[in-house]
Amino acid sequence: MSTDVSRPAPVPAPTDAGSPAPELPDDVRARLYETMVLSRTFEEAILREYHADKGPGFDIGKGLVPGEMHLSAGQEPVAAGVCAHLTTDDAVTATHRPHHFAVAHGVDLKKMTAEIFGRETGLGRGRGGHMHLFDPETHFSCSGIIAEGYPPALGMAFAFKRRGTGGIAVAVTGEGAANQGAFHESLNLAALWKLPVVFVVEDNEWGISVPRTASTSVPSNAVRAAAYGIPGERVEHNDVDAVYAAAERAVGRARAGEGPSLIEVATLRMWGHFEGDAQGYRADLESVSALDPIPLYETRLREAGVLDDAAVARTKEQATEKVEAAVAFAKDSPVPDVADVMKHVFAEEDR
């Protein structure tokens, strides 16, 4: 028996085959850019606060933001492109790497930041933390257990369909998580019942230290959709315009009652799996910063005349203001009262 896995270069899926980026209206592109900048600005602030007080050396349990921290820098095009088609009446179930989707879906920055800081004013009153963000206002949730956000998305879609709200559910996993049973069971059931779901796979090529070629038997998760009789599409090059276009098709199908679709996006994990990950297993790190999708998109939009210096500066300033206000809000918020620690296990304990 040999479990030796060859590690060939990633093979692009046939479904996209380098189709030219669609021409989107200028205002749409400016908004996609803004969303990505806001997400990145937010995570840069979290990164700063996270590392600010980890003690001499690095103690993961110390500081204003303790615990594991999975940041999504580099993956903003996926969230921005998909969420551009959603309203807060639609649901998103995200992963352990949830911030870009939370930002793009419009989760309140202050409450989210406060949750990450473990404050009483946070989305979960400090009980959940960065992997367990739940926001009923935007129907946003996430899970630290791999692929386990897929099944609840079916139920959200089921409820929307029953109630005729017109809402859809977007379920997100990484390419590593697409090897879980929950992923495959969910695709089958959603297809069978024609649920209004869009399945999104973020292929950043890494499941912690394991490359996709060592974890996944097919070159693209888009082809797995065929096994369940639903459309599967792969978007190459971390291209936000192409994600937007693919999501438009998938969201359109879901809203029209035609059932689920799957979109896989070839994206980029710019930073470690979690903060503190030295990434010794990764040989491509030097090339990563040149692939940062935000400056690349910025350049494209400048060349297309969509953005100029002033617009770029304004976008960044506004993002910084919002983020710093959220961080200040979190820092100024009270920590939860220890006397309440037993509350909220059951509904009648809510107050």
Partner: protein, 343 residues
């Protein structure tokens, strides 16, 4: 502690993760049917350093990174074990058991019984447990009582480097499935608050600690503290502090839930007449109740005071530091319980 034939006095100090890896390496050397499978166990060396250096030493055919498909690769371990291999399979966090529990408790744990003893499953399921660093309610649980509640698998939980080695060696050689649960807080990892006993003397060469043998880590006469894993260290801290007040606490490290060394519990409480159980797993339906019942089933009159239980309460583990520390069974709560049982 059972130590078979140590060749020379052991003076070498290792952290718990290195001691665990040493046992695995020695057994892989000795028995080519031993393989280690799991997520990020190869090049990464295990997220909690459970396999550091094994890939370099034994190669990709024996130290194998799996897809994130716990049902598939734990089931694979079971099948390989029934065919005569001795796989060690890692479930990265015990909290993730939910996605693969059927393979664990309906297959790994039951095949031997169902086959009337004709099919053996000599497999070790390793998994990280425990909180204390704000990783939230899906990454901080102990859950050992859940495994222990489901019959057919042994459940061992080391608290120190020497036991980590000895229990691992025994687990690999055991013909029954063994769940080996290591607390992140005892591994001696550079990126986590270290307790000072996470680095200690580890015997060189072959070292076995059988499952089902508790260890009196500190003899005493006034009160018995029955505990395991990281809580052993917290209990030792409290015992050392109370020593100055003339309180003599005996600390029993269970080391194993299945089999449970009831004799050792009875013997100690028989001597002290007072019992505090410290458990980082949930309160209800768990280890602390089982330990208390061990006494009351035999002879409730052994107890001079009601049993005190210091555990995680029945709530999901909270994220915020203050909340988490309020519910973890740490020194303050243990000390208060010892004082209550002595009052």
């Amino acid at each position: 502690m059972t130590t078979t034939a140590p060749t020379q006095p052991a003076t070498r100090r290792l952290n718990t993760s290195k001691a665990m890896v040493e046992a695995i390496a020695q057994e892989m050397e000795r028995d080519e049917t031993v393989v280690y499978l799991g997520e990020d166990v190869g090049e990464y060396g295990g997220i909690f350093s459970s396999t550091t250096g094994l890939l370099e030493r034994f190669g990709k055919d024996r130290v194998i990174d799996t897809p994130i498909s716990e049902t598939a690769f734990i089931g694979l371990g079971i099948g390989a074990a029934t065919e005569g291999m001795r796989p060690i399979v890692e479930l990265m966090f015990a909290d993730f058991m939910g996605v693969c529990l059927d393979q664990i408790y309906n297959h790994m744990a039951k095949i031997h019984y169902f086959s009337g003893g004709n099919v053996k499953v000599p497999m070790v399921l390793t998994t990280a447990v425990g909180g204390g660093y704000s990783d939230g309610g899906q990454h901080s649980q102990c859950l050992w009582a859940t495994f222990a509640h489901l019959p057919g698998m042994k459940v061992v939980v080391p608290s120190n480097p020497a036991d980590a080695k000895g229990l691992m060696t025994s687990a690999i050689r055991d013909d029954s499935p063994v769940v080996y649960m290591f607390h992140k807080g005892i591994m001696g990892l550079p990126w986590m608050a270290k307790n000072r006993r996470a680095i200690d003397v580890v015997p060189e060469g072959e070292h076995l600690v059988p499952s089902g043998k508790a260890n009196v880590v500190r003899p005493g006469t006034d009160v018995t503290v029955v505990t395991l894993s990281l809580s052993v260290h917290h209990a030792l801290d409290v015992a050392e502090r109370l020593d100055g007040e003339g309180v003599s606490a005996e600390i029993l490290d269970l080391r194993s839930l299945v089999p449970l060394d009831r004799e050792a519990i009875l013997e100690s409480v028989g001597k002290t007449g007072r019992l505090v159980v410290v458990d980082e797993d949930y309160l209800s339906f768990g280890l602390s109740g089982e330990v208390a019942a061990t006494i009351t089933d035999k002879d409730p009159s052994m107890l001079k005071a009601p049993v005190q239980r210091v555990t995680m309460p029945d709530i999901p583990i909270p994220y915020a530091h203050d909340l988490e520390y309020a519910v973890l069974p740490r020194q303050e709560r243990i000390e208060a319980a010892v004082r209550r049982v002595l009052a």
